[in-house]
């Protein structure tokens, strides 16, 4: 096998945006892990208060994943090129799997009324973010939808899930680790696709800066609320915040 770093850029882009690449990638870490974890893994004891906090956190993850499922499927219609359409099709499958494994984890924690409990524990800022994201999708606003979903939402999830996976019980940690592996593709797609777009059409930058200003308070409120539930030390939160902020800064969007 030749060095992949020697591939011409167009060949590389075709390869990593393909369904075949996605299929072989996810087979590596999902095979023999039904519902996102080793079926023989044993539950560890969780105190009632930590269990309740975990249920609330997973409910909000389910809302985020539902938003991404609805948005990414809608974006295929107006994605500007073949690679983006095929990639988004793989993302739709990823998001549906995430939602399914999170709901299954809630079942394992004793939750039976998923729809009701997810809605009752929803963070209002996250719901507002979801509503705005779907407005961008309904308006066929490719740049704003891509920025909100694949850069802002995915970067936030990537930072939060990594922190949570380190602190969680083993089964929840394994479920989150599998999701993080998918999130790498999603946020990388968003940053690179938008980066190329900004290079070709720099006039869209001001509009996206306004989108960021509008969404920032919603994201930061959700971020802080989730880190509190997960039990991340206050001292560790600025570093996690920087991980999230780094991707938008690379695209040239400061605070």
């Amino acid at each position: 096998m030749s060095d992949p770093h020697d591939l011409p850029q167009e060949v590389f882009l075709d390869e990593v945006h393909s369904f075949e690449f996605w299929f072989q990638a996810v087979a590596g870490y999902l095979t023999e892990r039904p519902h996102g974890h080793d079926p023989n893994a044993e539950e560890v004891a969780i105190s009632p208060s930590r269990r309740e906090a975990l249920i609330t956190t997973l409910c909000n993850y389910a809302i985020g994943e539902t938003a991404a499922l609805e948005a990414s499927s809608g974006m295929i219609r107006f994605a500007p090129n073949r690679r983006a359409k095929i990639f988004l099709a793989t993302q739709v499958v990823d998001e549906a799997r995430h939602l399914e494994v999170l709901l299954h984890r809630l079942s394992e924690l004793g939750v039976t009324n998923h729809e009701e409990i997810v809605q009752s524990r929803a963070n209002r800022s996250l719901l507002a973010f979801r509503k705005r994201l779907l407005q961008f999708v309904d308006g066929h606003d490719w740049e704003a939808a891509l920025f909100a979903q694949n850069v802002i939402l995915e970067s936030m999830e990537f930072a939060v899930f990594q922190a949570h996976a380190e602190l969680a019980d083993p089964i929840t940690g394994e479920v989150l680790t599998g999701i993080i592996k998918d999130e790498r593709r999603h946020m990388g797609f968003g940053e690179n696709e938008l980066g190329r777009r900004l290079a070709d059409t720099p006039h869209i930058r001001a509009r996206l800066q306004a989108v960021k200003r509008e969404l920032d308070p919603l994201v930061l409120d959700t971020f802080e609320d989730t880190l509190e539930q997960v039990g991340v030390d206050r001292g560790d939160r600025p570093a996690l915040g920087r991980r999230y902020i780094a991707s938008v800064e690379r695209l040239g969007f400061g605070l």
């Binding site: 060095d3 992949p4 770093h5 390869e15 590596g28 870490y29 790498r184 797609f189 690179n192």
Partner: protein, 99 residues
């Protein structure tokens, strides 16, 4: 058409670079044929080899079969990024996203 001078320069440059045999470290986020070109990052105390650079987007270590130098292009397949190797603070190799 191939530039013969380019070939000579390329050969001389390759000869001066250290070569590496890559083994599969268990990184499972790309198809099997690409796995040895990537590995998990061990955090801030993880010392990178001369043929390795950290992806700033997804924090995976990218590996090459040859010693990396500023100006080299590498791809991060786990997050689909094209990167250019640069010299960072303290002489450490870093990667910058090239959209």
């Amino acid at each position: 058409m191939t530039d013969p001078l380019g070939e000579v320069r390329s050969t001389e440059e390759q000869a001066a670079r250290q070569r590496f045999v890559l083994d599969d470290t268990g990184f499972d986020e790309v198809p099997k044929k690409y796995r040895r070109f990537y590995r998990k990052w061990g955090g801030v105390n993880d010392v990178l080899a001369p043929n390795e650079v950290l992806c700033p987007v997804c924090k995976v270590v990218i590996r090459s079969t040859r010693e990396l130098r500023p100006g080299d292009r590498v791809y991060c397949m786990p997050c689909m990024s094209r990167l250019v190797v640069t010299l960072g603070e303290g002489g450490r190799l870093e990667a910058v996203v090239a959209y």
